[in-house]
C-alpha cells in the first residue's frame, strides 16, 4: 500500500486523490506502484507548470520514479473551428495557439495557404515577416527567461525581462493595433503598412537590447544558486532526443545542428547572415546558454532586415484574395466588389494539401492545410514543438530530484496553448 492509501483510508479519499491514483495506475502500464513510492499531483494550477499542465508524479522520497503529463485542460478545438471558417478568418485563430509568438503562427499558416494558392509574396513583406518573426523570438525568449528564473527563485530577472517585453509589445501595438493577439501577418502579405517612425523605434530598441542581455547574464551567470540548479540537470542523450521527437533549442542543446531558418529556408531567410548556436551538454544550463545566444543572433537578423528593407508593396498583387486598400474601396467599383466578395464568400483555394514549416521560438512549427477547393479549409493541423518536447520530459526527469522537475519544465519552454490547441 502506498502512503496515500494509509493516510486517507478508502472512505475518506478525496475525489482529487482518487483521480491521481487512478491516473497513476493507468500511466504506469504494467507494474504496480512499489511499496515505498508515493504518487503526487502537480498542477494544473501549479505556478511553475507555465499554464495548465498537470503532472502525475511517482516519487520515492525526493526522487522521481515515473511521471505522466496529463494535458487537454486548454483544449478549445481550434482545429475543428478552423474547418468552419473562411481561409482569412483562420488567421486570428492561429494567434491563440502559441500565444507568446502570434506572428510566427500567422506566418506559418500564411505560408501553407500561399503554397496552396501558389502566391508570390513581395520582398518587402518577406523582410517584414523575418523582422517580426525575430522580434517574436525575443518576446518569447524574454518570457521564458523571466519565468524560468522565477521558478528557480531569481525573481528580479522576471521584472527586468518584462520591462523589455513591454517595449516589444508597444512596437507590436504600433504596427498591428494589438499588443498580443496581433493577426498582423495575413495570407498574401501583411495586414497594413508599418507606421513611418516604426523602424527608428525598433532600431533604438535593438541598439539597447544587447546591453540588456548582458544585464540578465550579470544577474544569473555567476550566481552559484543558478549554476547549481541548472548544471547537469535534465540530461537527455542525442539518440533519445531524436527518438522522442525533441526539437528546437533543446535538440540543438543536445548537439544536433538543425535549424529550419538555415537548413530549409522560408520567407527569404537564406539572404540573412546569422549563426545557429549549438551545445553538446544537453542539460538545462546548455539550453539556457543556447537561448541567450539565440537572442543575440536574433538582434543581428533584425538589424539586417531593417538595413536591407526593400521598397515596394507589403501585399501580393492578388485582388481576389487580398482585401483592397481602404481608400480604393471607397472610390473604385472594382475594389468594392472584390471587398464584398472576399468578406461574404471568401476565396476558393485549389484542392490539394500543403505543409509549411517555420522555426518558431520553441522550435519547428508546421501547419498542414488540406483544401477541397472551397473557401473553407478542409483540415488544418498544427504541429508545435511544445507537444513533442513534453513527451521527453519523463526521460529528462527520471531519477532526479522533485525540485529539478521545475527547472526542466522551464528549460523545454512549453506553452500550453500550443499543446492543447
Amino acid at each position: 500500500m502506498s502512503p496515500v492509501h494509509e493516510i486517507t483510508g478508502a472512505a475518506a479519499i478525496d475525489p482529487g486523490v482518487e483521480d491521481v491514483l487512478k491516473d497513476a495506475a493507468l500511466n504506469r502500464l504494467n507494474e504496480p506502484p512499489a511499496d515505498q513510492t508515493m504518487v503526487i499531483n502537480m498542477g494544473p494550477q501549479h505556478p511553475s507548470t507555465h499554464g495548465v499542465l498537470r503532472l502525475v508524479l511517482e516519487i520515492d522520497g525526493e526522487t522521481v520514479v515515473s511521471m505522466a503529463p496529463d494535458i487537454g485542460y486548454l483544449h478549445t478545438g481550434i482545429e475543428k473551428t478552423c474547418e468552419a471558417k473562411f481561409y482569412q478568418q483562420v488567421v486570428p485563430m492561429t494567434d491563440r495557439i502559441d500565444y507568446l509568438s502570434p506572428m510566427t503562427n500567422n506566418t506559418a499558416y500564411a505560408l501553407a495557404v500561399e503554397k496552396l494558392l501558389g502566391l508570390e509574396i513581395p520582398p518587402k513583406a518577406q523582410w517584414l515577416r523575418v523582422l517580426f518573426n525575430e522580434l517574436m523570438r525575443l518576446n518569447s525568449h524574454l518570457v521564458w527567461l523571466g519565468t524560468h528564473a522565477m521558478d528557480i527563485g531569481a525573481l528580479t530577472v522576471f521584472l527586468y525581462c518584462f520591462r523589455e517585453r513591454e517595449q516589444l509589445l508597444r512596437i507590436f501595438e504600433a504596427v498591428a493595433g494589438q499588443r498580443m493577439m496581433t493577426s498582423y501577418v495575413r495570407i498574401g502579405g501583411l495586414s497594413m503598412e508599418p507606421p513611418r517612425d516604426l523602424y527608428n523605434r525598433i532600431r533604438t530598441f535593438l541598439n539597447d537590447f544587447p546591453a540588456h542581455i548582458d544585464e540578465y547574464e550579470g544577474l544569473l551567470q555567476n550566481n552559484p544558486i543558478w549554476i547549481n540548479r541548472l548544471k547537469g540537470v535534465g540530461y537527455i542523450s542525442p539518440e533519445d532526443a531524436i527518438a522522442l521527437g525533441l526539437s528546437g533549442p533543446p535538440l540543438r542543446a543536445a548537439g544536433i545542428d538543425f535549424d529550419l531558418r538555415r537548413d530549409m529556408p522560408y520567407s527569404s531567410y537564406e539572404k540573412f547572415q546569422f549563426q545557429v548556436p549549438v551545445a553538446t551538454e544537453s542539460d538545462v544550463w546548455a539550453r539556457y546558454i543556447l537561448r541567450m545566444q539565440e537572442m543575440r543572433e536574433s538582434v543581428k537578423i533584425c538589424l539586417q532586415a531593417l538595413d536591407g528593407m526593400p521598397e515596394g508593396r507589403y501585399v501580393a498583387d492578388a485582388p481576389k484574395i487580398i482585401l483592397p486598400d481602404r481608400e480604393q474601396m471607397k472610390t473604385q467599383m472594382e475594389s468594392l466588389i472584390h471587398h464584398f466578395k472576399i468578406v461574404t464568400e471568401g476565396f476558393g483555394v485549389p484542392a490539394g494539401e500543403a505543409t509549411s514549416s517555420v522555426e518558431a521560438a520553441h522550435g519547428p512549427m508546421n501547419y498542414y492545410v488540406v483544401s477541397d477547393g472551397t473557401a473553407k479549409p478542409y483540415r488544418v493541423h498544427m504541429r508545435n514543438s511544445d507537444y513533442a518536447n513534453l513527451q521527453a520530459l519523463e526521460t529528462m526527469c527520471k531519477g532526479r530530484l522533485l525540485a529539478d522537475v521545475v527547472a526542466v519544465i522551464g528549460s523545454i519552454d512549453i506553452v500550453l496553448g500550443a499543446i492543447d490547441r
Binding site: G72, I242, Y368
Partner: protein, 163 residues
C-alpha cells in the same frame, strides 16, 4: 498562381520524375501511390506495410518523426487518411506518408516501435478521429475527458450545437 498541371500524379510518373529521391528509393516496393505537388512528395502505403515503410525510411536517412494526423473524407470511402510527416536532418527534406482506411475497420499498426515520438500523436488521432492503433503502449484519450462520447474532428460531428 498555382497551376494544377504542375502536379505529378501516380506512382510511375513520380518515380520516373524523381528517381534520386531517397524516400522514392526506399519505398520503391512498398508505395502503392505517389504524388509530387507544390514541391512536396506524398507517398501512399498500404496499412499492413506502415511499420515496414517507416523502418525503410528511417534506414534511408529520414531520422526524425515530425507528426501524425488524420483527415476525414466523410462520406466517401476510404474514409480516413492518416498522414505522417517524416523529416531528414541530413538530407534537409521532408516526406509525407499517407495511409487510407475504410470506416468499417479504421485501424492500423502503431509506429511507436520505430519512433517513440509517435506516442502522443497517435493518442491524439485516436482521441479526435477514433482510429485505432494496434500495439500502442498506452492508447487512451489525450485531449478530451476520459468519459467523452464521440470523436470531435470527424466530419459528422457538429462544430456547434448538440451532438
Amino acid at each position: 498562381m498555382y497551376d494544377p498541371a504542375t502536379a505529378i500524379l501516380g506512382k510511375d510518373a513520380v518515380f520516373e520524375a524523381h528517381p534520386e529521391n531517397a524516400a522514392v528509393k526506399a519505398l520503391t516496393e512498398l508505395a502503392t501511390d505517389a504524388k509530387y505537388d507544390r514541391d512536396e512528395l506524398t507517398l501512399t502505403v498500404a496499412r499492413e506495410n506502415i511499420v515496414a515503410a517507416m523502418r525503410a525510411l528511417q534506414q534511408a536517412g529520414y531520422n526524425f518523426f515530425e507528426d501524425a494526423t488524420a483527415v476525414d473524407w466523410y462520406p466517401s470511402e476510404p474514409r480516413f487518411q492518416v498522414t505522417y510527416h517524416i523529416l531528414s536532418h541530413k538530407l534537409k527534406q521532408r516526406v509525407r506518408i499517407v495511409v487510407r482506411l475504410h470506416s468499417d475497420d479504421a485501424s492500423l499498426d502503431s509506429i511507436t516501435s520505430v519512433w517513440p515520438a509517435a506516442n502522443f500523436y497517435e493518442r491524439e488521432v485516436f482521441d479526435l478521429f477514433g482510429i485505432h492503433f494496434g500495439g500502442h503502449p498506452n492508447l487512451r484519450r489525450i485531449m478530451m475527458p476520459e468519459d467523452w462520447n464521440g470523436h470531435p474532428l470527424r466530419k459528422d460531428y457538429p462544430v456547434e450545437g448538440y451532438r
